[in-house]
């Protein structure tokens, strides 16, 4: 018999606030955002952190949604969006991602590399320029979303692109939301010592070869808890 308590233990031990894997649409985004907001309000975290998490969640889900719409002929892309929000007292980690095409992966990689090198002031400047320059979008946020996420998360974003057998790339991000002042650039890539475990998302059909934090014990979550 399947060990049902295993999933309860995972959810409890890893403090999973919310998780989802599968196709998303506007209604589902609405539900997930409302659920996250309610759970955050109940957990009595600071208003500022609640708003950061919800805002980042919205950007992530809507990014995934737009990739689904742009690649609607690829069922694998449409079915791929995943999301996990993990809580550690006042801090949160958002794991998110979806399949993208090679061209999209190249674009995103370049964009995220640029963002990761920016100071807080440079991020703000880039945000203002992007906001002011862009034609008003008829759909999506035209790439400003990632800059917005980086600003809110004080640029604590880990990302990865994993080539899959189906020719697509799994684009995944780990975004840290912490109740603290901005850190200096050196400390941003270090793992949070408060975490007992780092949850590593492993999408079906891809091999994750590198862990976010090799010093910690890791737990792979497949579709099981979606």
């Amino acid at each position: 018999m399947l060990d049902i308590s295993k999933y309860y233990d995972i959810l409890q031990h890893e403090r999973i606030l919310l998780s989802h894997n599968g196709a998303i649409d506007g209604d589902l985004i609405d539900l997930l955002v409302q659920l996250a907001d309610k759970r955050l309000a109940k957990s009595k975290v600071k208003n500022k952190i609640r708003k950061k998490v919800v805002n980042i969640l919205v950007e992530c889900l809507q990014n995934s949604f737009h990739y689904s719409v742009d690649n609607e002929e690829h069922t694998a892309v449409v079915e791929s969006p995943f999301l996990v929000i993990q809580q550690n007292s006042e801090n949160f980690t958002i794991f998110t991602g979806n399949y993208v095409t090679k061209a999209q992966a190249d674009y995103l990689k370049k964009k995220l590399e640029d963002i990761s090198r920016m100071t807080e002031a440079e991020l703000n400047e880039t945000y203002i320029k992007a906001l002011n320059k862009e034609e008003l979008p008829t759909h999506g946020g035209a790439g400003v979303g990632l800059i917005d996420i980086a600003r809110r998360a004080k640029n604590q974003i880990h990302y990865k692109f994993t080539e899959s057998d189906n020719g697509l790339y799994l684009f995944s991000m780990q975004i840290e939301v912490k109740d603290q002042e901005p850190q200096n650039k050196e400390s941003e890539t270090k793992a949070n010592p408060n975490f007992n475990h780092v949850v590593t998302m492993q999408h079906p059909s891809v091999q994750v070869t590198e862990q976010v934090d090799p010093d910690k014990s890791n737990l792979n979550l497949n579709n099981e808890i979606s």
Binding site: Q62, H66, H139, V144
Partner: protein, 129 residues
């Protein structure tokens, strides 16, 4: 000219654009997937309002959440009001933010740098919110 009155939803804000008083208010959350659909009618309304604005126009933003595509349209609205202001009509913007919402404050400050119209930052105490 007609007013715009839209009730907010879990994704879109309350809108109250009153052409007879010049009080324009956007309040709540703005996280629609398709911001164009929601904001385009507001921008068209502002174009018509700009032809015959009230002597005083007050635009108020009291937002909880907004996504990046909304922020572009918020800037679009501010640019419409900037035109009215630069044409010599008294106009003002009030940008409300929760006392501990540093991101909302930051966006207000960013918008201030882009447009020439005066934007007043108004802090909301948590107890009142």
């Amino acid at each position: 000219m007609d007013n715009i009155v839209i009730r907010g939803t879990s994704k879109t804000p309350d809108v109250n654009f009153d052409a007879s008083t010049g009080n324009l208010e956007i309040k709540g959350r703005s996280i629609p997937e398709n911001s164009y659909q929601f904001y385009e009618p507001l921008l068209s309304w502002l174009d018509r309002y700009a032809a015959e604005p009230r002597p005083n126009t007050l635009l108020t933003f009291k937002l909880d959440y907004f996504n990046t595509s909304s922020s572009m349209y918020i800037l679009g609205i501010l640019k419409k009001l900037e035109k009215i202001y630069l044409a010599g009509h008294k106009s003002q913007v009030r940008w409300f933010y929760d006392a501990d919402d540093e991101d909302m404050l930051q966006t207000g400050e960013d918008l201030k740098q882009i447009v020439k119209i005066p934007i007043e930052m108004v802090e909301i105490d948590q107890e009142e919110a």
